[in-house]
Amino acid sequence: MMNDTDMTQALRAHVADGPPMRITSDGVIAAGRRSRHRRWLASAGGAAGLAAVVVVTAMAFTARTGPSGHTVGGPPPLTTCASLQPSPVPAPTQSAVPARATMDPGAESAATRVSCYLLSAVPALMPGFTFTPNPARRGTSALVAVPGGMGGGDLEVTATSLATDASGTGLLIVSVSRATESPADEDHCTGPHAKAQCRTGPNGERIEIYDFGAEPDGTHNITVYVYSGQTFILAGASNAGETQNAPRTRPSPPLSVDELITLATAPELKLYP
């Protein structure tokens, strides 16, 4: 007869002899770091709905083929980009969230500036790539910035794009906002929560690099933060789509750490000196 004690003993014996454990704390921590960062990237997907209902100048742009043969969606007219003055964008108005039919003029200006820069710089940095809208952010155009995106600071604008070449399709994200915290407030490089590799940029910018390598399923995200004056710039690249659990779609991210830094430290993105 099997009583309760026997049942407990049988269960304990049943689970006693397993194979050696493959998971380690180091492995879990590494996976946790990647997971946190991936969720950070993926969280922007939730903001896509907001971005989609905001009427932005970018929405009026029509798709065309860029001068170097790259297909890009909805670029601003060249005259608009050419007329931009190298001055800070206007200060934010009282409303933090753009209304359905209006947009903060500061955010509008920021979105235009970021779009103009990306539509010029990214194809030049990535010859041979084709750029198409990111399906995780419905209603957006490739490399065209719209308000919101990463849940970051004031006047945040975000541009994304899929980038495809012979190796496959990857994801690009660039977000620019007015910095709401000094990087010294939370030391990501040397403090107890440090997870980034840090560098100083060509113009003295503080750069944080989050690259934890490929996950077990082969997906690999690289994210670079640049603090330049009062501007916070996030540039990210992934070899998978933006949705949660998206599979790997190319061997490696379409941009390297150094290329992301090159992209993100451009003076054109320093919107808030």
Partner: protein, 169 residues
């Protein structure tokens, strides 16, 4: 590794083995058990600074149970990424009994299996199992009793009295 990650690593070292045993008792496969435990620890890592130390154990146990309960939904992805199978364990005197228990556990509905394992392997009180699963204590008692009864029957035990199943503590 710095600061809170060292605390997390210490918690991992203390709890990973027993959680793997719990997961194995639930799912019956060591690889799946490790996947479940790793996923639970990754989730805990993300929340570590928000989880009070005294509740970390309950948090991760709940995470393991929830992962097991929803395991079927993720099966396709796990097949794709599964590691090579383990070398089979050499046959021993307990192998047959272990196989029998494996089969017997596999016959239980998922929630019933969870209750039996939490009550008899983890030695959790009825109230804690009820809280973890979000069910009434009476449900835990009755379902555990049925589960144990089914195990006894599957293992060839003629005694299927439910009054021996332990009650609330």
């Amino acid at each position: 590794m710095l600061g809170w990650e060292a605390d997390f690593a210490e918690f991992f070292a203390a709890r990973a083995s027993s959680l793997r045993r719990l997961a194995y008792a639930l799912c019956g496969d060591w690889h799946t058990a490790e996947d479940i435990v790793q996923g639970a620890f990754v989730r805990l890592y993300r929340q570590w600074r928000r989880v009070r130390p005294e509740t970390a154990d309950a948090y991760i146990r709940r995470s393991v149970v929830n992962a097991y309960m929803s395991h079927r939904r993720d099966r396709r992805r796990e097949w794709v990424s599964s590691a090579p199978p383990d070398r089979p364990a050499p046959p021993g005197p307990d192998a047959a009994a272990r196989l029998d228990l494996d089969r017997a556990l596999a016959t239980l509905p998922k929630q019933q299996r969870v209750m039996v394992v939490l009550r008899h392997l983890e030695d959790l009180p009825v109230s804690e199992v009820a809280l973890l699963l979000g069910v009434a204590e009476g449900t835990v008692k009755s379902q555990t009793a049925r589960g144990v009864q089914a195990l006894r029957a599957a293992l060839g035990d003629p005694v299927t009295r439910t009054d021996e199943v332990r009650g609330s503590r």
